[in-house]
Each structure stands twice: as C-alpha cells, then as structure tokens.
C-alpha cells in the first residue's frame, strides 16, 4: 500500500511543482469536456450506439455483447458523470488552482470514459486515441512534461507517416472540403504532411526564433485545417501543443533561477520517457510489419496504432436474400449520415447485413442472406475479397468468424 501511495504522491508533486503541467492538466480536462460536448452534439452518441442491437465491436474483443449488460440508465449516468467530472477537473486545474482535486476528477473522467468508449469502435479516432493516452500519462507516468511533449511529437510524425498513403496525398479530402481543384488539394495534402513531419520536431529547438517559427507554423496550419475540415481535431492539437511554449518558458526560467532541487522527491527518471516512447514507436510501426512476422493479433495491432482517416477505399458488395424456393439479389443500404471514412468498413457492412436479416425475417419463406464484400485501396490494381458468407443470419455468427473464415473461402 505504501509504494502505490508514494507513487501517486510523486505524480501529484510533479504536477503541483510545475505550472505548465497544472495548466496542461486543465487543457486535458477541457479536451475531455470537448469530447463530451462533441458526443452530446451528435445525439449523445455513446447512448445511441448502446441502443443498437449490433454494435461495431473493437477487433481485439471476441464479443462486446457483455457491454449490453449495462443498462441504458447506467450508461446515461456514466455519460453525464464523464461530462461533469471533466468540467470539474478543468475548474480545479485552471480556476481554483487545486491540482490534486483536478487530478482526481480527471482520473474519474478517464475511468468513466472507458465503458462509453469501448462499446463501439465508431467512437474511436486518432485524436481520441491521443487524448486518452496523454491523459493516462499525465495522471500516472513520471517525467510527464518531457514524455507528453515527445508523445505529441510522435503522434504528429506517426500521423504524417500514415498520411503518406495515396488516399491522403491524392488531395481528395481537401479538394472536396474546399471545393478546390484536385491539384490544389494535392499540394495542400503534401504541405500538411510536411508540416506534420517537421513542425513538432522543430519545437525542440532551444533557440527562440526557430521554436517560435515552428509553433506559429503549426498553429497556423491547424487554423487552416479548422477552416477546411472542422474544429475538433485542430482545436485539440492547438491546445495540446500549448504545452510546448509553457514548458519552454518554464525550462528557461528554471535555468535562470537555479531552482532548489528536492531530495525528498528527486526528479523523475528519464527512463520513463525512453520506455514509453519505445512502446509508442513499436505500436505505430506494427501495421507496417508483414503479417507473417507479426506474432500479435492483427486487431490489437490495429487498435494501438493510428488509422488512416482519409476515405479512399473502394468497395463492392453483392448480397442475396435466400428464400425456400428462390434467391433474390438485393442492395443493402447504409444508414443515412454514415461518414465517408466508414463507407467501406467491413464490420459496419456486417452490422448492416445483420440488420437486414432482422428486417427480412418476417417475409414468408425467408431463410438467410448471402453476401460477398470486396475492396480496393487507391494504389491497388484489383479488388480483393474481404468476406464471403452464405449464411449471414446464423445467430451465433460474429464478425470475427467471418474474417477468420476468409482464408477458407475460395478466393478470386
């Protein structure tokens, strides 16, 4: 009991002694509240997904039906608790200057968020991934300032690597958002990748002019992104990168004033930074490792690494209603409002098929639905099969079974 308490105390001490970290805690709490607001604005998204009979389970979970055991009322309480805790944390960090209470409420918000977040993969995004990771590090990992800054840098660089894909570099995201020619979109996409690679690395320059240039460039870039693509991700990154000037100022101040070092609580070891960054880098590198050399579950690898968020995958699906005495080719329609990013997502297509099974059950003579999905990325020449199933309405058929059976289906 003594060790964990001491560990927690040293974490709190690290936050209390650093005004930049105290402020950053407030920013993290604001971002948490922003997530809550974003979900609330879209119709209380976690609660909406909780009501659906066929959730989009995270790939590494065998089944997420166990989450349905949580009652809708309990989910609603958790949802509002998440929002209120985030607000309270922000107030205590920024206004009341009581970092310990702020830390506590932020921890509550972070813990409460998990059952809301994990019930459906549609709530996931790269930026949510970053906020969740940074909150954890802020709460519980020593050497926070340096580690958080390196994680933010790592996030930018990883995102830039992911965006080296044809889907992003083709510029269609910017071209569609700004109604601009595709070549302009290409240039904007290339510039954004350049800024994401170089900007955060340049924030580590000690010389003020280079640091300031880097920070202003990044902030301007996010401002343009806000105009083109929406507020959530750019605002989040602007707030997170505020840690850099705050820490820059604090470090220069420490160097000038030669602050007293506490021997009761020594400075946190740099080893925390190396270990955590090594884990982060390995996690981001996993999707690039060929599957035959990958010893972990590919779903886990996909979960702990960043996703390409540009739409670009093309897919074709053919589906059939199978009756006692006849077969009909049908078109399964996706629900309105589904984002382009998820248009070809196989798990969502599976969910749509399950919904179609339920709708067709009442038709006389109905037996099952057969369906095949093929997809192709922008740089690929041919379509490849994603799944083929002759009995999608089987009660115990899970998405995992469909994907794992893919190797047995006679391929193209």
């Amino acid at each position: 009991m003594i060790f964990p308490m001491e560990f927690l105390k040293s974490n709190l001490w690290e936050i209390r002694k650093s005004s930049s970290l105290t402020l950053f805690g407030g920013l993290l709490a604001i971002l948490s509240a922003l997530i809550f607001f974003n979900w609330w604005q879209q119709g209380q998204l976690p609660l909406l997904y909780h009501q659906e009979p066929y959730p989009m389970c995270w790939g590494f979970l065998d089944s997420c039906a166990w989450l349905k055991a949580i009652s809708p009322q309990a989910m609603e309480v958790m949802f509002w608790t998440f929002g209120v805790s985030s607000l309270m944390a922000a107030i205590f960090f920024l206004l009341a200057r009581m970092p310990s209470l702020g830390w506590f409420f932020l921890l509550v918000a972070w813990l409460i968020k998990w059952p809301l977040y994990i019930q459906d993969q549609r709530l996931a995004s790269n930026i949510n991934y970053l906020i969740t990771l940074l909150t954890f590090v802020f709460l519980l990992v020593p050497n926070k300032s340096k580690l958080i800054r390196w994680l933010i840098t790592g996030f930018y660089v990883s995102q830039a690597f992911v965006n080296l894909s044809p889907e992003w570099l083709s510029g269609q995201v910017y071209a569609e958002a700004l109604n601009a020619p595709i070549k302009l979109g290409e240039w904007l996409a290339a510039i954004s990748v350049l800024v994401e690679f170089l900007g955060p690395m340049a924030l580590w320059f000690r010389e003020l002019r280079y640091f300031a240039l880097a920070w202003v460039s990044l902030t301007t870039y996010h401002g343009l992104q806000w105009y083109a693509l929406g507020y959530f991700e750019p605002l989040t990154l602007i707030l997170l990168t505020l840690l850099f000037p705050l820490s820059y100022y604090e470090e220069r101040k420490d160097e000038r004033e030669y602050l007293y070092r506490s021997f009761i609580r020594p400075e946190p070891s740099a080893l925390w930074v190396y270990i955590t960054m090594a884990i982060f880098i390995v996690a981001q590198a996993l999707p690039f490792v060929p599957k035959e050399y990958l010893s972990i579950n590919p779903s886990i690898a996909a979960t702990i690494s960043l996703d390409l968020e540009a739409p670009g995958i093309e897919c074709r699906q053919v589906s059939f209603n199978v009756f006692e005495h006849h077969v009909e080719e049908i078109e399964i329609e996706a629900p309105q409002g589904r984002s382009a990013r998820y248009r070809c997502h196989p798990q969502l297509r599976f969910v749509d098929l399950k919904r179609a099974c339920k709708d067709s059950e009442s038709q006389p003579g109905f037996r099952t639905i057969m369906s095949a999905l093929t997809s192709r990325e922008l740089g690929q020449a041919e379509f490849t099969p994603v799944f083929v199933s002759r009995d999608l309405c089987k009660k115990d058929l899970a998405y995992r079974d469909l994907i794992s059976a893919r190797g047995e289906n006679h391929g193209l």
Binding site: A160, L164, S165, P166, L169, S170, G171, Q172, I182, K183, E186, W187, A190, V193, L194, F197, L198, M201, A202, W204, F205, R206, E207, R316, V318, F320, V322, F323, E324, H325, H326, V327, E328, E329, I330, E331, R367, T368, M370, A372, T374, R376, L378, G379, Q380, A381, E382, F383, P385, V388, R390, D391, C393, K394, N409, H410, G411, L412
Partner: protein, 508 residues
C-alpha cells in the same frame, strides 16, 4: 554548461536538416506527380482494373477449370440455331394430351430451354425460373433492379448460365437453383449467351472503367481511333467465370443475335442489316463484316459449315463463312417476310421457313430454288418450326423414303394444333391436337417418350384477369396413354408428396 548546450543544439540542427531532407524525399517518392500536371488520383485510377472475375458464392468444389461443359438445348438453342433436333431420336406421330397445367409464371420471350428436369426461362422483368415437367416452380432467381430484364438462360448438364440487361452474369445449379458465382460483365448485356467450347459468348458494353483501356488497345491494334461507347462481343470462361477477351468495338442497333460454329470457334452476330464474324481463336477479333440490303430476321443459322440468313424482304441467303470476308453463295426469294431464321432439314438438304402470313416455305439448298409452300392456318403468334424424326414404322405408310430416315417438319397449325409434314412435297402426315382454343405451340420438347408443349391461351371472354395464360401440356402416344390409365386404375394412389424441391440449403 553553455558549451554543452550549444554542442547539443548543433547536433540537433544537423539531425533536423538530414531529417527534413529525408522527409522531402519520402514525400516525393509517395507522390511522384507533385511537381507535374498529372494528378496522383487519376494516375492511380488508370492503373486499376475492373473486376473481371466472378465472386464465388458456392463451395470450393464447384469451380473447376477443366470441366467440359455441354450445352443442353432443344433445337434453336444449339450454337448453330439449326432448328433440327440433334440426336435425331425417332418419335411417334400421334399424341394425346395426358395432362395440362396452367403455369404460375410466363416466359417473357423465347427460347425456353428445357431438359429432362424441366423448363428454364426468363420472365418479364428480372426473374429466371425453372419449372418442372409437372408445371410447378422448382426454383427462381431475381436479378437486381426493377427495370432489369433477364435474358433466356443457357443450360448445360449441371449448370444454368443467366444474364440480364444490367450486365450481370450468374451461374446456378440447374437442379436446386443454388447460386455458384456472380459477376458484373458489362454495363449492358444485349443478348443471351451462347456456349462454344467452354467459352460463354455475350454481347454488351464493357464496364466503363475498362472502356478507355480497351479503346487504347484497339487504337494500337488497328491504328485508328476507336469509337467510344460501343458494344463488343465478350468471351467468358464458362468454368471459372473469368473474362477472357473482348472483341473489336461495334455499334449495335437494337437486338443482336449470336450463332456459333464450334469446330472453328467462330461467332456470327446478326444485327439489323449487318452480319459480323468473330474469331475466338484470335481473341475475339473481327474476322469480317458484311452489310446486307435488308435487315436480317433472327440469328444466322449454321449447318454443315454454311450460314443461312432470312432477310425481312423475303430473301433467303446462303454464305460460306470459311472464305475470306465471307462468300455469298446464293439467294432465293420466297416473296414473303420470314417469321424467323430457316430450319435445316437433314438428309433432305432443304430449308424450311415460316413466313409472317402463316405459310411454310421449303427451299432446296443444293439447287438454290424454292420448292413448295403451304398455308399453315396458324392463328397463334409463334411461328416456330422444327425438324424431327418420326419412327421407321410410319415411313412406308406415308410414302417417305428410307434414306431420309424419317425426318419431318413440325409446325404450329390451325387451332391449337401441331402438324407434321413430309419435307419432300409438304404432304400432311399427322395433326396433333394440343389444347383447343390455345394458340399453337411456342415450344415443343420431347422427354422420355412424352411430348411437352408450351401454349398460350388467350383470356376467355368475361374472365376476371383478362390476361393470356401459359399452359404446359404433356402428351403421350395413344398406346402409352392407355397403358398408363390401365395401370393407374389397378394401383391405389400413393400418399401426396410435395413436388417442390428446396432451392437452397444454408450452411449448418
């Protein structure tokens, strides 16, 4: 300390410069078209191929590359469209209706394929249906789209190949209707398919994304600008379903009909007043094309290596397709518009042609002259004429010559009847009463000694629906019918069984 810091700063700057150079290199590698006018997306899309392979939906074992497929057909669905019964089994000359059944659905157009199991046809709209010999539905398949029109299916020993106007090609199990594979072949399929040495031949417009690529290849091959938005002959591997080739582009007006000469793997397409020959051995390239003075009625009929055409002006033409450019041989004017392509009467070396005025004309192939014509008094819409053999015991009775092996002409006549004629001079041999009041047959099929007839019954006056009915009649020769009735009278009736089989069994 300051010196250390400066040293670290210099190292960091050096690293940053190298890092920036590496980033620029990566970026230019990932988008090599950044500094050019070319668009990355367009370049990548240009390298994409359309899916020209089927999506398999059946067990592994059903896809076999080496399985030889034999088309099952009755008369007109043979590759050569000769209208003469292949196999030439002798039949009786008298038949009596044993049972007639109102069909629950009706074919949209002929031909209706049939075999021992039943009848296979396309309904009006997107449906393909299999009906048993007892007139009950075995299975059905529906293509996607309300406006889609299914084409008459092609059947083999074990499979049914079906196409639709929306460019879909499917393969089904003939007995159960189980879907084996599905594929998009083109954006518009014009005609039902033909099967030549395991190759399915279709006519349609290729998928849009394939069009530009094909246009470029054609320009390279022929040195002239390929016409966009055109039709082609599409060749598909019938066992595996993959598209093998596309022909040169052609513009078709309205309906186009396929015939094939299997021995030389040549395909002949008639469309309006144009006759095209394609060589499957040369990747479906156009061997030759001819423009005729008048539109051609139906497909070209091929027999013993020669092509016979019916022109709407009443001319019957013979062509030799083996000669370069196709050699016109002779023409006979029968004076009236034909209702369909000629029927070849084996051993007689004669052609029989039904005309739209209800006559049956016969032309001698060797002498290239018209011989005789008779009035069929056919009050129905179908003018389908067939050549089939009758049993040897009738040869002497009706003054037929033994060397002609009992070949006769079967044609719809008068009120709901089928008439059998001697091709020599048109003497009536027999008149088979089908269903009084019904239009003479759309289809005749012989199976296990029984004669099946598909007939259209006009709506009775005062009837509720006012719609034409389709009837399936089964006829037996009088002796067999009597024997069956005697047996039925002696044996107690069996317990009632459902005759509808299950079309699909999902996996357990």
């Amino acid at each position: 300390m300051d010196y250390e810091r400066q040293r670290r700063e210099r190292w960091w700057s050096a690293f940053f410069i190298v890092y920036a150079a590496g980033v620029a290199y990566l970026l230019l590698q990932s988008n090599p078209h950044l500094y050019s006018n070319k668009e990355l997306k367009k370049e990548l899309l240009g390298s994409q191929k359309e899916t020209l392979k089927p999506i398999p939906l059946a067990e592994k074992g059903n896809l076999t590359a080496d399985q030889k497929l034999h088309q099952t057909f009755w008369w007109r669905e043979s590759a050569g469209r000769s209208g003469a019964e292949i196999g030439g089994i002798p039949h009786d000359k008298e038949y009596v209706v044993e049972v007639k059944t109102d069909l629950p659905v009706a074919p949209h157009s002929m031909p209706v394929s049939s075999d021992d199991v039943g009848f296979y046809f396309a309904e009006k709209g997107p449906w393909i249906t299999a009906i048993s010999n007892e007139g009950q539905i075995i299975w059905r398949y529906r293509f996607l789209g309300e406006d889609t029109q299914a084409h008459p299916p092609l059947i083999t020993d074990a499979f049914v190949f079906a196409t639709a106007s929306n460019g879909t090609l499917i393969r089904l199990d003939k007995k159960t209707g189980e879907l084996h594979w599905w594929m998009k072949v083109g954006e518009r399929l014009l005609s039902p398919s033909a099967l030549v040495n395991n190759k399915l031949v279709l006519i349609g417009k290729p998928l849009k994304a394939e069009e530009e690529k094909l246009a470029k290849e054609t320009t390279k091959r022929r040195g002239q600008k390929a016409t966009p938005q055109t039709d082609r002959v599409i060749v598909v591997d019938a066992a595996l379903g993959s598209v093998l080739d596309y022909s040169e582009p052609i513009s078709f007006k309205g309906e186009a009909y396929l015939s094939a000469l299997e021995s030389s793997e040549q395909i002949f397409v008639t469309n309006d007043n144009r006759l095209h020959a394609f060589d499957l051995n040369k990747g479906g390239g156009v061997a030759w094309s001819q423009t005729l003075p008048d539109p051609i009625v139906g497909p070209a009929m091929i027999y013993e290596g020669r092509l016979f055409l019916s022109l709407i002006s009443g001319k019957i033409q013979a062509w030799d397709p083996a000669k370069k450019g196709g050699k016109f041989e002779w023409e006979v004017d029968i004076g009236k518009a034909p209702a369909g392509p000629p029927v070849f009467v084996p051993t007689f070396d004669r052609l029989a042609i039904a005309t739209t005025d209800g006559h049956l004309h016969v032309v001698d192939v060797k002498k290239a002259e018209g011989l005789w014509n008779i009035h069929l008094d056919n009050r129905g819409s179908s003018q389908e004429v067939l050549a089939a053999r009758i049993s040897g015991r009738f040869i002497e009775e009706h003054g037929l010559k033994w060397e002609n092996k009992g070949w006769t002409l079967w044609a719809p006549c008068s009120n709901g009847r089928a008439c059998i004629y001697n091709p020599d001079k048109g003497q009536l041999i027999s008149r088979i009463s089908l269903v009084p009041g019904a239009h003479p047959f759309d289809r005749l099929s012989f199976k296990d000694g029984a004669l099946y007839a598909l007939l259209r019954q006009p709506a009775a006056k005062g009837s509720d629906s006012g719609e034409e009915r389709l009837i399936l009649a089964r006829l037996l020769d009088p002796k067999t019918l009597k024997r069956k009735k005697d047996e039925a009278a002696q044996t107690p009736p069996p317990a009632a069984k459902s005759s509808i089989s299950t079309a699909h069994q999902p996996e357990s």
